[in-house]
Symmetry: C2
Subunit: 148 residues, 2 copies
Amino acid sequence: MVIRFRDATEADLPALVAMLTDDPLGASRESDDPAPYKAAFAAIRANPAHQLIVGEMEGRIVATCQLTILHGLSRQGMTRALIEAVRVAPDLRSQGLGAALMAEAEARARAAGAGMIQLTTDKSRLRAHAFYDRLGYAPSHLGYKKML
Amino acid sequence: MVIRFRDATEADLPALVAMLTDDPLGASRESDDPAPYKAAFAAIRANPAHQLIVGEMEGRIVATCQLTILHGLSRQGMTRALIEAVRVAPDLRSQGLGAALMAEAEARARAAGAGMIQLTTDKSRLRAHAFYDRLGYAPSHLGYKKML
């Protein structure tokens, strides 16, 4: 089975929202109403810093993540890439799809001139921690969040 | 003493780079060459998602952070704000400047429609952890980084 990566289209939204919802933390955070997702998708598409990546296998969306290219002064003005909302279909875990997804994101980040890629993951996602450790990510930071 | 917040201009770059350098972690990461910072500043300014905030007191830059507005599908398409590169002048710590800076960033984030604000801080920055805890930020995540 070959996974093919491409940018998401609006037609992918139901599958993407289903993947966000089919998750221990996402289950309580997502909604059946497509309207907020359509609005968010339009905002994502309106800023070229965002790339919403989907992995497709035999016509099915099986993996996704969002890559955002960030500019900043620190580290000698290093361009960095932020990864958010990484998901792999639960029935297809441990087959290398997640690693392929991250490799795609890293290749796109490098192509955009990023010298570093960063992400946060909930402290409760122990399998995710092992996954990122294995891919060479260092858990050097604490990730803080505050609702506004 | 009153701190006034505004968007950074290119004329602020030497002061901003000095603040990034005058830091236990930043000292080894920054450079005397202004060229990469000028290029990064131009990239920051070119994307309206970025706001490079400076706090000025009696003509001196005493605080800075970068706010970035992010769009995404998760959490019902919630707009979020990312804070990076928070710095307060070492000789002016513990006087409320940092809290004022974060309040400015949060107000700007809310004005941009963000429902959440997030940041990462190096695990070694224990004073920063206490600072964010005090301001109501929850250290719910691990922050991973990988050099590309």
